[in-house]
Every structure is written in C-alpha cells, then in structure tokens.
Symmetry: C2
Subunit: 189 residues, 2 copies
C-alpha cells in the first residue's frame, strides 16, 4: 500500500555536468548542473535545465552554445564548487586553477582538466517555470586518451563519473555491475 508524498522531484540518479559558456565579454564560465542528460540519438542531443538566475542562463541565450564536461571522482571538490558559486561574482576557473580551452566546434569553452567533454550548439529553449529546459545538439565529443577503452569508447572504470542523489544531495561512486541491458530481461524460452 502506497502513501502520497506530494508533488516532489524524486528521480535517481542524476549526472554531474559542468556547463561551459562564454559571457557577453568572452569570459569563460563553468557551472554544475544535475538536471540534464541525453534526449535524442539522431541528431545526438542533450538537455539541461537551468534557473534564470544563473549566469549560464544568460550566456547560453546570448552565445547559443555550451559544453558539458564530465568530472571524475578526483574532481569532486571542483565540481561542487562550480555548483555553489556564481560566475557573476568571480572567475571560477581561475579560482580553481582550471584551464579554459576554446572549443573548435562551438562558441563555448571547456576546462582542459575534465577528461570527457561534449560540445553542443543550442537548438531549443523551453520555459517551464523556475527552470528553463535547454536542448543542445552534440557536435563533437572530446576525450583524453587515458579514459578510453580498447574499443575507443570511454571506460567507466577510468572515467569514474560522479553519480548524484538529488533528494539527499549526495555524490556517490559507481557500484557493482548488476547486469547487461537488453539482455538480463530476455525471455528464457
């Protein structure tokens, strides 16, 4: 028997994404966002939901491009910092000693230190309420050699992306493999 908890945003897990944009003066900024992910395979697209109050919100609408850097476990402090402070008040990359690199494909920067980076062009913005949903087309993915597996795809055990639990606001590591998708649920007959 279930009980009603009210209208709550209880979905787990969320990713931890470092959104890279330039402001109107060409200054690089990064912010952490957890509400986002892939939303189309062809063309490859990602969505991120941002509040209007964020510095990135205005940058995105102005420059029509962004990057998504995926931090590893060893970049937990940086990732969290980028979600606490605003680029309106300081140069967050400088404060963290991160190196801004201009994307070759889109009008947005990323931090060299994040080992996997998606380069995206803004395609849609949909105002929902406190948050606006931004959809970007992924034009390229940049990766460090040392996170790639033999098949050329990222190796989860090397990348070690963060797993976020929104309700209790905790960062987690990845746990044990439980099974292969499109496989463990196959009919036995």
């Amino acid at each position: 028997m279930k009980r009603s908890l009210g209208a709550k945003t209880f979905v787990y897990p969320a990713p931890v994404l470092m959104v890279g944009t330039y402001d109107e003066y060409g200054r690089a900024n990064l912010m952490a966002a957890a509400w986002g992910g892939v939303c189309c395979s062809k063309p490859p697209c990602v969505s991120i939901a941002l509040r209007k109050a964020t510095y990135t919100y205005t940058n995105l609408l102005t420059r029509k491009a962004f990057t998504l850097g995926i931090p590893g476990e060893d970049q937990l402090r940086e990732a969290d910092y980028l979600g606490i402070y605003s680029g309106r008040d300081e140069d967050k990359l400088a404060a963290l000693g991160l190196t801004a690199v201009k994307s070759k494909r889109v009008d947005a920067p990323y931090a060299e230190e994040f080992r996997l980076v998606l380069e995206c062009e803004l395609r849609h913005d949909l105002k929902l309420g406190l948050h606006t949903l931004f959809v970007g087309e992924i034009l390229d993915v940049m990766a460090e050699d040392d996170i790639l597996a033999a098949d050329g795809k990222p190796d989860l055990a090397k990348l070690k992306p963060l797993v976020y639990a929104p309700v209790n606001r905790q960062y987690h590591a990845w746990g044990d493999r439980l099974g292969k998708a499109f496989s463990v649920g196959m009919r036995k007959d």
Copy 2:
C-alpha cells in the same frame, strides 16, 4: 591533449524509469526509459525522450498523462524486460506478473510492485529528431512505507534504484558516498 570521438551521446549516469501509460483501449502498458529526469522544480517537472516507434509514444499523446516507476535492484529483470519488448505485441504487465493500479491523480497506470512512483500530466512535447522530448508536471509521488527514511523522504539504501551506463549498456548498483553536495566544494576561508 584530447582527441575527437565524433558526435556521441556520452553522458553518465542515466536513471532507469518505468513509464506507465494507457493505450486508446484503456490497456495498461509499461516501458523502460533511460533518457529522462527532473527538468523543473516549480512546478515540479520531469522529461523523458521517446522514439515515435514506441507504443508509449502514441499512448502519451492520446492520454496526456504518464507515471514513472522507479525499480529497485531486485527488479532488474522486470525493468530490462520492459525495455526489450513492446506493449503492441503483448500485455507486458501480465507477462511479468505485475499489478496495474490506476493513478488517482492522472489518467495513467503504474505497477504496484515499484516502490516509488511519480504521477505526471503531459505539458509539452518537442520533436527533436528520432526522439521526442516529453515534459510532464509531477502531480504526486506515491511511495511504499518501507522505502522511507525517518524524515519521510525516500531512503536510497532501501529504495536501491538502478544506475544505468548508456554507452556500455550496463546496470549498476550505487557505490560509496563520496561527499555532500553544496558542501565539499565550499571555500575554506
């Protein structure tokens, strides 16, 4: 130094969501979706991206409502099954022995066996390409008592939601806590 991997949908992790809808005849259906998550806090909204080819796609546009059930580790087989087979060909709930319950708030069913369920009304649909992005407003969340912590919120250790790695198509458990968000990144001064 980074290398280009091309335009790939490399974002980790993704949730594992059981999308519940009624078809035009009032038959309950569930499908697994990994591309989705929270996209607004006020009003509370979730997005899910679906291919037009899915049975759920048509159901959603017809009934304008859906539920999202969050399966636990012990429901791995059911969750995967619901992502492999189509409600067009069979009654998946019957095949898995799941119990369809009509939501009190929206025109959609959920499976009683999933311990956390979001009840949503469709607000937007945005065609992106192969996938369409659906945004629903969360009207209520239903939960079993045995997954709740003392504070009335879901307890991750009891709920044990699945963590999905899209690129290698693996289900994972949650790993160790690494730190508290909006905390580990605070300035020390």
